[in-house]
Symmetry: C2
Subunit: 410 residues, 2 copies
């Protein structure tokens, strides 16, 4: 599991603010890994509300089923996350394991099981030994504290090579409202729901209904707009918890102007976490941003951008620093969306390489090749049919991806 | 371009029969490669009919456009194929290049341009220097001969590491009818039409309409059922030419019982060629057959099988000889097709690894790991919902794929 840290890892990490009403601790439960933390317990004060988005996989993990049952209640008092085992495709044993996990947390913290949220990430198909949580529960409870967030981010990592955190603070009438978020994800990442685990905490006083309404659009522009390998996880979970401890009047209507401000800040945090996930894409050496414009609709632009971002041939070309825009044409062509070959325009960065369905007359191989050496590569495709636009983020496909995934389980 | 020959290459090649009414020759036109043949010219006798299936890409090559225009005529006198340049996304220059190519062939052989078929494979976006064909046209014409087919198969290769040929012979009332086919394809292979170039020749006397009707179902079970990397080519072309020279009464109705016999033989040839393409998948070290059964419909089964066969995580696990059936579960879950996690059953070869939504109680890691060392790996997934079934063929995803595609163009 000891892969080299992604060359795209952030140079420095922000200091995440403590969130009033949130305390957490991590421990080594020995689920799979040795000599590292693999369990995160978060306790939240009474009155905390929650909204979440879960994987659309038809084979979701037992923990995802559990969260889906509890989310409609909108209330949260605890979150338990483990890494090393996804508790997915574990049948009745998996269901028993989530029940046991919740029982352990319920007993330790004296909270209702319906207000406990669970997430598991790691190997699929291996029964989760939830009893191991009881061995660390008392210790976790004794060490609950409002920081440091990096510890929480580290405990939920699997093949991640760096911890993922993001934060934002907004002020309403001079009163700060903080958002602190963590995420994990590196492979099995595709834009179909929040393709990873992400947990965001805020002290905003906001109703569960409003929070829920804000979340999906923010997910669509963040976690749903990234892809590493087109593979959608069975465990994807994004939960946002709001303790309500910030000293402002509660936000109880989506029409409250503060909802839009908070939504933008929440969107920024989710977007930053999603970008971190791409930058830690398994084997990634380059960050790739694919813009599609001029499609018949935003949805069509998104599908074309996905087709480009998921193409192994586009991604290997970028890994090879090869300005192979012909493969971008191929990916547009196979997307199944309206496109007219003879209206296509393609740019790499600011360099227009193709226009009106053929190579740009001013195309310079040397100039384009030099651009491909950048760590961040932007591809812009003009479809020339309408006003639809979308952006999808991905990384290159390298030998590192093969090495990491050729023998992950053993 | 000198990649090691696929370990899955056939141990021996069949002797392909000459097809009465078909003569061909190959030459070094110097389109891109040096010291190898890169152009194939086939001349066919008057009375030859043709049926074809072309890429569904929205960005087809100029040669595909040309064939699409000529196919409705149903008559063929010549085929010109070049490797090294796909003449795709070449705008007006591409259109001019196909016209010039046809003019050269028309003049050399004295045949109508409407009965000339063209195919190009190689780099996208680079103008094709069709004038180079005129330099070799007279020489090609002088050397036209009914064999050897291996020369034809070699001239159309790009990243292929072995030539692809297949043949079948059926007898009607003791009179043999022969089919000889060649194909190329190794990357940019996905099941959406014949994702490659394939040309099949038969001396069967059969009407163009009947031939057309037989072709699509045969394609669906062969070229449309294989995938290497989920990338669909701009140039996909499968053409079947029938010279009518075999001494039997013409097959002019799909209800003629001989049509079914011929169709089966044609299907066998196309299937064998398609399997060759997978076995020469870029970087392939293992051949993978994915069977899905018990889906709600055949179409649904096909989509689930595609999702498994295209999953980078499934393919890298197979490359690593890792019996990671959890990734198969993931791929079923992301397919977007009806599936019930708790009814799934998965087998690797004859070993049932999962049943009723969890690991099989008799699962043996050692036995399954031993199976994964085979060169041919079969994955069978039971969905447990209905009678739909489908089979898709693919290969593993290895370092070789990255190496081949990280710097193909330069």
């Amino acid at each position: 599991m000891a892969h080299p840290v992604s060359p795209l890892a952030p140079a420095e990490y922000p200091e995440l603010p403590q969130i009033a009403g949130v305390r957490f601790a991590t421990a080594e439960a020995g689920i799979k890994y040795k000599n590292r933390t693999d369990v995160l317990l978060v306790e939240m004060d009474e009155g905390t509300v929650v909204a979440g988005v879960l994987t659309r996989s038809k084979c979701p993990s037992a923990a995802v089923d559990w969260c889906r049952d509890n989310l409609p209640g909108g209330k949260a008092r605890a979150l338990l996350v483990n890494s090393g085992n996804a508790n997915a495709f574990t049948g009745k044993k998996g269901k028993a394991a989530v029940q046991l996990s919740a029982d352990i947390v319920s007993k330790a913290l004296g909270v209702n099981a319906a207000e406990i949220f669970l997430a598991s990430t790691g190997v699929i198909g291996e029964p989760l030994q939830a009893a191991k949580f009881s061995g660390v529960a008392d210790d976790l409870k004794a060490r609950l504290a409002p920081g440091p967030w990096m510890d929480a981010a580290k405990a939920i990592m699997t093949t991640d090579t760096f911890a993922k955190v993001a934060t934002a603070t907004v002020e309403f009438d001079g009163v700060p409202v903080s958002i602190s978020g963590i995420a994990k994800g590196s492979g099995m990442i595709a834009p179909d729901m929040a393709t990873m685990l992400s947990f965001v905490f805020t002290d905003a006083p906001i109703s569960a209904a409003v929070l829920k309404g804000l979340l999906q659009p923010a997910i669509d522009r963040s976690f749903n707009a990234v892809t590493v390998d087109s593979d959608t996880s069975t465990s994807d979970t994004c939960l946002v918890f709001a303790t309500g401890k910030a000293g402002i009047e509660p936000i109880t209507s989506p029409d409250d102007p503060r909802a839009a401000v908070f939504s933008e800040a929440l969107g920024d945090v989710l977007h930053e976490l999603a970008i971190h996930v791409v930058r830690d894409g398994e084997g990634a050496t380059k960050m790739v941003t694919v813009h599609v414009e001029g499609a018949e609709s935003d949805r069509s632009a998104f599908r074309i951008a996905q087709s480009i971002a998921n193409s192994p041939l586009v991604k290997t070309a970028i890994a090879g620093e090869d300005a192979n825009w012909g493969r971008v044409v191929m990916a547009v062509g196979k997307a199944g969306e309206p496109a007219d070959r003879d209206r296509l325009a393609i740019s790499f960065g600011a360099i227009r390489v193709a226009t009106d369905g053929e190579r740009d007359p001013n195309y310079s191989e040397a100039e384009t090749s030099a651009y491909m050496k950048n760590e961040d590569v932007e591809i812009t495709v003009g479809i020339g049919l309408g006003q639809g636009r979308a952006t999808v983020y991905t990384c290159d496909l390298t030998h590192g991806y093969i090495t990491i995934n050729g023998d992950y389980r053993s």
